[in-house]
Amino acid sequence: MTDRGPSDELVLDSAEGISAEPITQWDLFVTRLRRHRLATIAFLYMLFIAYVAMMAPLFTCEKNDTFCGSGPIEMSAITTGLMVVIAVGAGYLAYRSFRSNLRGAGVAIAFVAIVSALFLVSSWGWIDLPHINHYADQLPGDDGRLLIRIEPRGSIPMGTDDLGRDVLARVIHGGRASLAVGIVVGGLVALLGTVVGSLAGYYPGVVDQSLMRFTDLILGLPLLPVAIVVGRVLPELRILPGFLKQGAWGIAVLLGALLWGGLARIVRAEFLSLREKEFVEAARAAGANDRRIIFRHILPNAISPIIVQTTLIVGTAIIIEAALSFLGFGVRPPIPTWGGMASGGAAIAPRGDWWELVFSAGALISTVLAINFMGDGLRDALDPTQTIERK
């Protein structure tokens, strides 16, 4: 035993002489995400899909649009503002990506910035942009009637369906329904599953039991039949606000309310193990209350399974929405959805007209895959307990 304390000459409060540069959380996140090649590609792909879906009305135009094909695109003040933000933001991100040697991301984001800027410029009438016509009715047949089911060719890269509508335009529009469903379901599931799971995992006994039995009940519901019945009834209900009755919103809320059970179980399991950890005890010994312990001390430690499960659920939700639309119980025609288009495509595919099925299903599959890869990458990148080897 020595009477000398720890060597005092070491005690400096400046960073002088410290060997390693401090690494910020953002640096760690980027480095880890970069190592995950597939996730990076998936992330960029989703960025692209989301961007295209969001801007769908700008890429495509309806048959009777006066400005279709030539002249400036009319944009509302909100859209213009949004485009400015996107163009400037993407430009800055692209700049940063290049600075930190992320060339691939830089190119992709720069593309977004350039396209946004092009739209802005064209909306002010400085240049004309070509558009994808929603209806390919500029292509009349020999008898003067509208050509339907045109094979993919130069100006119509994905062909047209049996009503003569441009498949590319509809695939772009269809992404909106899928992404809306994905985002709403993801948000709802993350919220419900986390809240129910945390409370059940943190408070044993009555709270736990009643919440988990309710979860069992929700999980026990046969998903597709319930969704079909509720989806059929929803539009008839007068009390519902209009936006829930049509399009993808009602289905998204419905799926969100049905799909949170798995996440709740996972979060509960995480809480059951984390609440026994010594740092939780230490937090309580330091005077933290329950709310603080749940949200500040336990939840951040449970974040990676939540992220992974939520992304998986987003993928599942998109597929279920497509399945419902495929079966004709989802989003009503003529609103384009990938599932609905796959259904239409499947009807004409036996005749050899493969394109509508292939392109709509391809968009669906690639998107769901990308979301799952993204979840993988995010889990690895956000996990603060994982050590990182420096190259």
Binding site: M1, T2, D3, G5, P6, S7, D8, L10, V11, L12, D13, S14, A15, E16, G17, I18, P22, P204, G205, K277, E278, F279, E281, A282, A283, R284, A285, A286, G287, A288, N289, R296, H297, P300, N301, I303, P384, T385, T387
Partner: protein, 336 residues
């Protein structure tokens, strides 16, 4: 004498299990004065940690419960306080340092965030002020480059450094009592003395009383004013460090001291140990709980539970035969 800082009266903490009620702490009473360094020793499972948890009221009701007793701290009975008041006491007036610094820090926050959080919970200061205090605390526990290390995560710290951070966190709000539950058990021997030295030095500067829980007699010998020895849920001997070490009155204390490894003596034989294992806390034996393991047990020991009483030597001891036994002169036989 002035009011003691902490006055624990006859607390009994029981845990319900499927086999029965485990009487982990069964009638423990003691007082700790302001600025005192009290050591609590005993082997694993004797109720040291549960005593500490009971004082902090960290025993959670469905599993365990403080059945009777009172814990008067600074004039208030902690067992009567509403939970919100208790949260203010925890960390603010009584701080606790845990056994394993590897797991006691939250892995997802920086050291600085965690220090600042504790400070903000108990002191009315701004975030910038809390930051200043936190840096000062880190420097006080001899963390080099305190300012830069604030931004680091627990996994970037060594075990000894983490325990120093825990000490900084414990002392950041100037508590009146610091409970250290085996603070050096998880550390290697070279770091242990450093950490103990640092902790007690800082506690002394701030006039913080320390309740040091350990099974390491060497640690209490060097650092504590008074010592209480616990066995099977109750205190069996209590006195000043000198009294306990020079003249143990209870055969268990005597056995513990005899089983210490010492560098200044040559052992030719096996190390001594107290034979047997502690009794079940569900159905403790009638009479003295140490009787089944005691070399000096007689009929009375197996019949009546001895109570803690003053011995002529000064300390308090719970043994029927304390007066007649002269343990000092008995040479311990190495157990086979």
């Amino acid at each position: 004498m002035a009011e003691p800082l902490l006055d624990v009266q006859d607390i009994r903490t029981y845990f319900s299990t499927e086999e029965g009620v485990v009487k982990a702490v069964d009638g423990v009473s003691f007082k700790v004065n302001a600025g005192e360094r009290r050591g609590v020793v005993g082997e694993s499972g004797c109720g040291k940690s549960v005593t500490a948890m009971s004082i902090m009221r960290l025993i959670e009701p469905p599993a365990g419960e403080i059945v009777t007793g009172s814990i008067i701290f600074d004039g208030r009975d902690l067992l009567e306080l509403p939970e919100s008041e208790m949260q203010r006491v925890r960390g603010g007036e009584i701080a606790m340092i845990f056994q394993d610094p590897m797991t006691a820090l939250n892995p997802v926050y920086t050291i600085g965030d965690q220090l600042i959080e504790t400070i903000l919970l108990h002191q009315k200061v701004s975030k910038t002020e809390a930051r200043e205090i936190a840096i000062q605390q880190l420097a006080d526990v001899h963390i080099p480059y305190a300012k830069a290390r604030m931004e680091d995560y627990p996994h970037q710290f060594s075990g000894g450094m983490r325990q120093r951070v825990m000490i900084a966190m414990g002392l950041s709000c100037d508590p009146k009592l610091l409970i250290a539950d085996e603070p050096t058990t998880a550390l290697d021997v070279t770091t242990q003395a450093q950490i103990m030295h640092l902790m007690l030095e800082l506690a002394e500067e701030r006039n913080t009383a320390v309740l040091l829980i350990t099974h390491d007699l060497g640690v209490v010998a060097g650092f504590c004013d008074t010592i209480q020895v616990m066995y099977a849920g109750s205190i069996i001997e209590r006195g000043t460090a000198a009294e306990i070490f020079n003249n143990p009155q209870h055969p268990y204390t005597w056995g513990l001291l005899g089983s210490m490894t010492r560098l200044d003596e040559v052992h030719r034989d096996r190390l001594n140990s107290v034979r047997g294992a502690p009794p079940s806390l569900i159905n403790p034996p009638k009479g003295c709980r140490f009787a089944p393991r005691c070399d000096f047990a007689q009929d009375i020991c197996r019949e009546a539970l001895p109570i803690l009483r003053q011995s002529p030597e000064g300390q308090r001891v719970a043994c029927h035969r304390a007066d007649e036994l002269d343990l000092k002169s008995i040479v311990m036989e190495p157990s086979a």
